[in-house]
Symmetry: C2
Subunit: 353 residues, 2 copies
Amino acid sequence: MRTVEETCRRISGLDRAAMQRAQDRLDMLTKPRGSLGRLEELAVQFAGILKSLPRECKEKVIFTLAADHGVAVEGVSAYPQEVTGQMVLNFLRGGAAINVLARSVGARVVVVDMGVKAAVAPKSRRLCRRRIAAGTANFLQQPAMSRPQAVQAVAAGIDLVQTEVQRQGISVAAIGEMGIGNTTAASAVVAALTGTSPAAVTGSGTGVDKAGLQRKCVVIETALARHAPDARDAFDVLSKVGGFEIGGMAGIILGAAASRIPVVLDGFIAGAAALIACRLAPAARDFLIAAHCSVEPGHVLVLEKLGTRPLLDLQLRLGEGTGAALALPLLDASVRILNEMASFHTAGVSPAK
Amino acid sequence: MRTVEETCRRISGLDRAAMQRAQDRLDMLTKPRGSLGRLEELAVQFAGILKSLPRECKEKVIFTLAADHGVAVEGVSAYPQEVTGQMVLNFLRGGAAINVLARSVGARVVVVDMGVKAAVAPKSRRLCRRRIAAGTANFLQQPAMSRPQAVQAVAAGIDLVQTEVQRQGISVAAIGEMGIGNTTAASAVVAALTGTSPAAVTGSGTGVDKAGLQRKCVVIETALARHAPDARDAFDVLSKVGGFEIGGMAGIILGAAASRIPVVLDGFIAGAAALIACRLAPAARDFLIAAHCSVEPGHVLVLEKLGTRPLLDLQLRLGEGTGAALALPLLDASVRILNEMASFHTAGVSPAK
């Protein structure tokens, strides 16, 4: 718990002076003021995070966290539980969507086992092992994990950031996940933290049918009534209805914010993790960039609560960090605009009348 | 006129069989069906355009067309007219936003003088010279150009595509523009072609003030009443209230469609050009990809009429092709997904229950 508390204490908001310098620079460049819209906002936010003008955005790291969910036995997913471990192997071999998109945008993928049921790829050196347990418990029956496990999951995320910072550095972190059943956990977390009815924030995930969607809602409603998680206590919510990868992603956000690194959120489940992180350290919000709005109905609410607006409108519902990967070129572009464009003065272009 | 007519006749719709093959391939890959949303749609559209599965998207060409507008003397822009030529020099030196973003996404920029008032950079080899005249006439007083000039502008665009196809090839074309006063021309074109009131499709462009916006609306209303362009006749509309770069962009769309190359549209002005192209050859619509929705109020209507939906939500209003440039990595990503992802079978991942 000390790691988490100390990390949260190190998080402070954006540096307004650096943001002003970035804005002043943008306003000198050969374009109408503000005409690059949210690309300019990204550059200004990045400056506020770094406390200086960003020079490059080279080290793009996508953390893809995998874990299993005991609640999967309730038939809340279109896929069998063994798919989580199979997909981890696919990540390690480079054949999944996140691998393809990471290559496409020049990012590296850090694959993390936060608690896949069947331990996978025992010999792979490329797998980060942060297993909290062999999947969570079925939260319809009992809390998904103990409170110490919830703290441990968040601390593991913090440690993942520190390890990568020391290894190769991180210009920007992106977070995504894999875990059969994890939209059920994310919906429960979001409903609990925001006091919203489960039906309003629960969708068909990777494609469960109508009956499955109804089961999902009933499972979440029953679990919330049974465990009565305390919305003010992020660890209570995470332990009762969360998941190890959700805790891990919350930890990555906290670790990145403490190290003044921007974090690009993928979809709904990463959003649930962001709500947990911001409950632990509200200033972490300033470090978040929402990549896209997924088709999960609860995602709109999550983005609203986080005060962020998505950059892409692509109707994604895959996870793994795929949406976050697709948004990384925009952050790159914003930094290049700040550094490479000519000013009205140097280019000899007349300013506005 | 023969060039334009022949080009239009060569344009046919998407190849449904190739689209089905792309969809079948996507459905075998290790992801829930359809979960990559509009990225999958892009891959399928691309297959329909190519009549085969796209293998790569390497040759990205951004055409940035510049021209001046006689109507600028009516005080419809926040910038003086000489900025058009100054910005062309900036494009050639690589200091403008479009140069920076093109480098960022691995595209090349083809800078075209379609009719800048003061002839620029007489010695530059990198400038494509397709000058129709030294700017259009002030369409408040007289038609912007003659009908033969309108045809010549569209034919120039067709020729630009052919030249680039022969030189280095084009996997995807993107179109953008530079021309002080050209949101006024674009608003007039859109109002005329769609039968919408000018007030509903006219915005503040690069940042004209409230009085300037009102002047813009009055200028457009007066010009449309005076010239009464025939909405069914694209060349009549283009010649009476259009611009050389608008005609050129329409030609690029037609030329690209005839060569079965997808075209990424930038903002409102490129959208006006697309409406002209689709009036000349309705099947050209299938080749269009809308990059973003700009803050110009008429852009929503244009995208609706074109039946396209923007990929990015970035509040851009710069032009030059900047929004189109930012969307190119998404097309790249869609092609890579089709080619590089593992299938359920090869990865040993269990399919949906």
